[in-house]
Symmetry: C2
Subunit: 497 residues, 2 copies
């Protein structure tokens, strides 16, 4: 049995105390679940679309109009939900209408293997194909922060803000166990790639009209890379927008490489030939525009495919259009916080801010619940975002142009200083800068903060045409530092260039 070397079964059910157990080979671990925030009704905007049967959170920012549903939560909503993100406010990337598939009738067709089969959802979830495991994984659209790129020069992609990211506990069966179940336990010339496809006829392009991609067999078989065929998110069966009833979940990988509404999986000597395997999820060199990409065959050059996420970070606080007022003598420090992530199983080891344009950097405190989980799982692979927080002496704000953040990963990688444009607008991870504007108010001196952009068609942001326009109607109060005592810890400096 493929499960002989596996952890005991964890079904990812939310426990009465509001936590969910996650898979641990070595020890037990539980994660607290956030409130679900499910919508009670279908949003009026979906009423005359093919998705009129899906209840969606009304605050989600729709980035491509009403339909298809491509959306991210307001950054504040994402932050307030906490380290674990409810499915209802989790980033969604849909290329077309959501297929109506049922748990009862859905089948996963597996071919190109010694024991081809069609598996029902009950069979997949039974524990007989492989142990059912639950793992927290941060899911990121490779287009996260694309609007910053579009403000520089238009890409072919739409305006993701910096909330195209969510972190959930995903439950499913390991792909390596499923492959063992159908008779594939090692690479061979015939068993070189695993290909995945969603429903046929779902999309306008490609021969089959389905969204598909493939991964190397080594990746697929690698237990440590935790590839799942997932059927639950945060302990409950998948919602339609997140791939119900079955999807692939590739920790550390860009969201676009994970197939929702998974229908077919096959093993082959060749990688996927799906239209979307080639014409989506690429970072082409910056001089390549649409015409050149087509003329010179850039879409087919293997070095430009993207799989693992690069290192990135952004600020939750100070929030866009928030104001810090000096009149209140309690406000002696400002709270600065955000998230940081990296792909490929690496770990964020440091988050830092700079108030002097990147000349020196100060360490923030990391909040990384995943440390205890990885310890319990007995692995050095990390799949989740880290949150970070620090506070700065408010008087320093009067002399700084901007607050910049950056992250450092366990490979000592950091984010680049400058934005590099690419045709698809993907993997933007240049330093995230929040501009600091001093201003006079009736109550005295204040500073207000401006993020680079706001998602979708929303206005505001120092990279946009609305740069520097303060909107008191939308303004909020910036949070003071929790302790009122700013730490003194510059940690890095630019030495000699």
């Amino acid at each position: 049995m493929a499960t002989s070397l596996c952890e005991s079964m964890r079904d990812g059910t939310i426990l009465p105390d509001g936590t969910i157990s996650v898979s641990g080979l070595v020890d037990e671990a539980c994660v607290a679940m956030p409130p679900r925030q499910d919508a009670e009704d279908v949003d009026a905007r979906d009423a005359d679309t093919p998705d009129k049967w899906i209840k969606r959170h009304k605050d989600m920012v729709r980035l491509t109009g009403r339909h298809p549903f491509n959306s991210e939560p307001p950054l504040r909503t994402l932050q307030e939900a906490g380290w674990v993100t409810p499915p209802s406010i989790h980033v969604v990337r849909n290329h077309g209408a959501v297929p109506q598939l049922s748990w009862e009738n859905h089948r996963l067709k597996i071919t190109g293997v010694p024991r081809p089969c069609e598996l029902t959802m009950d069979e997949l979830a039974s524990g007989n194909v492989g142990a059912v495991v639950s793992i927290p994984v941060t899911f990121i659209c490779a287009g996260n922060r694309r609007k910053e790129q579009n403000m520089t020069k238009k890409t072919i992609g739409f305006n993701w803000g910096c909330a195209a990211v969510g972190n959930s506990v995903w439950t499913g069966v390991r792909l390596c166990d499923v492959l063992a179940y159908v008779g594939v336990e090692r690479q061979s010339r015939e068993h070189r790639f695993v290909c995945f496809e969603g429903p046929e006829g779902e999309l306008p392009q490609g021969e089959t009209g389905s969204y598909g991609t493939s991964i190397d067999m080594g990746w697929a078989l690698d237990r440590e890379r935790d590839v799942l065929l997932a059927f639950k998110q945060n302990g409950e069966v998948l919602t339609p927008d997140h791939g119900a009833p079955l999807r692939t979940l590739l920790p550390g990988c860009i969201g676009g490489r994970m197939i929702k509404w998974l229908c077919k999986m096959w093993v082959s000597a060749e990688p996927s030939t799906s239209h979307y395997h080639f014409f989506d999820n690429r970072v082409l060199p910056p001089h390549v525009d649409s015409q050149l990409a087509q003329d010179e065959g850039w879409w087919f050059k293997p070095e430009y495919i993207i799989n693992h996420m690069n290192i990135n970070s952004a600020m939750f606080e100070p929030r866009h259009n928030s104001v810090f007022r000096f009149r209140d003598s309690q406000n002696t420090t400002l709270k600065v916080s955000g998230y940081a992530y990296v792909g490929g199983g690496l770990k964020i080891i440091r988050a830092e801010i700079s108030l002097d344009g990147g000349k020196s950097w100060e360490i923030a405190d990391l909040t990384r619940p995943e440390d205890a989980i990885a310890e319990a799982r007995g692995t050095d692979k990390h799949w989740c975002w880290s949150w970070w927080e620090t506070e700065v002496d408010a008087t320093r704000l009067l002399q700084c142009q901007e607050i910049i953040c950056r992250a450092v990963d366990s490979n000592q990688n950091m984010q680049p200083m400058n934005l590099t444009w690419n045709l698809m607008g993907m993997m933007n991870n240049c330093l995230f800068r929040v501009k600091v504007h001093p201003m006079q108010t009736p109550g005295g001196v204040a500073v207000w903060f401006e993020h680079p952009t706001q998602p979708g068609a929303e206005t505001g942001g120092w990279m946009t045409d609305d740069a520097g326009i303060f909107d008191p109607a939308k303004a909020s109060d910036a949070a003071p530092g929790p302790s009122g005592v700013a730490p003194k810890r510059p940690v890095a400096a630019i030495w000699r260039s």
Copy 2:
């Protein structure tokens, strides 16, 4: 048997045609071996040291005096040897005298496992413990390019140039197979780390006086990460300086984490407590000096341990102190070449040069023999350096201050613009810059090139006190571009900061 899922045995012997077969699960692959360049005699400098029995290549640059032997080859020697590096000119890091161990008498003692044992070298190499496999791996000292850091502010480490890197075919048994042989096939609370140690009493510090470290069990068991207990380099038994008769080989990892002269291995619930596990191979934040590191316990903070190499690149050509002469009408282009590497199994997807201070970048041609090898091995993990080459229109040299190179990896990581200092002087990977100096010669206008530093006590380099001093006695001719036609391909630009 642990080998049931393994590739067939490849003993890494050099074939009559001068190639060595490397392990392929999927297909066959061979790698051409370079000339051995073995020394015929013991170097006079070793005559009155404990290492007086070891024959060493006389051109190796000794970085810590005569003894212990810490050395890198001249950059030109490294380049001329080719993509595979002979052991005789491969970077060596010795903390003390080399132990005199024999193949016949050496034993690997394995404890903390269900079936403790002592293995002879013949047993390890027999194929009965696990298949014998051969894999090309680039080995990098985490201190590579440290002299650049020392020129900024002295670190506690000695002056590595940019040739503390070598690429060999390593032959051994997979650690996961050895662990299976002694009864460990999965993580558990008791089986959480694998610890390694060299000979006792070898070094002055720590309880046992041995060099030791540990890795996570997940890493150790992960077939895809290719951890070896290695006994051959380029098809021949290890030389004393490279760990004869047995060492660990951790692809994608810093050299300092790999244990030479491996004597003991044990599995434990706890990581290594070796002195060197904590007081070596760390990247501390830049504000931490020796005193602060001790006072505030920075050596024991887990986030500052280093394992995987970060992304890096350097230039072979134009060589330091080489001269490009315009008088020769054949010299219309200049050849620019170098190496690039990254750890963790990632792949170098692009190397680029800039002639305008980093504002725009041009793609170089990559030479990556590993592609065919990875394909034959059926893996998406890459463990070897990439070489790159391009040529530039010579007239552009007259208007540029410097030639800069950078690499891009499959996670879209790049090198940072600026150097960041750290106490141990490790993982320096800022952009590598070669300064371009126009000058008048009897034959007409020429430009000469200056690298940042030269290894060890060697003088010269724009970062040093000898900056800008041209030494005609040491000067060589810069190579013209091979085609005489410079490609036109700017690929990246700094857009908006």
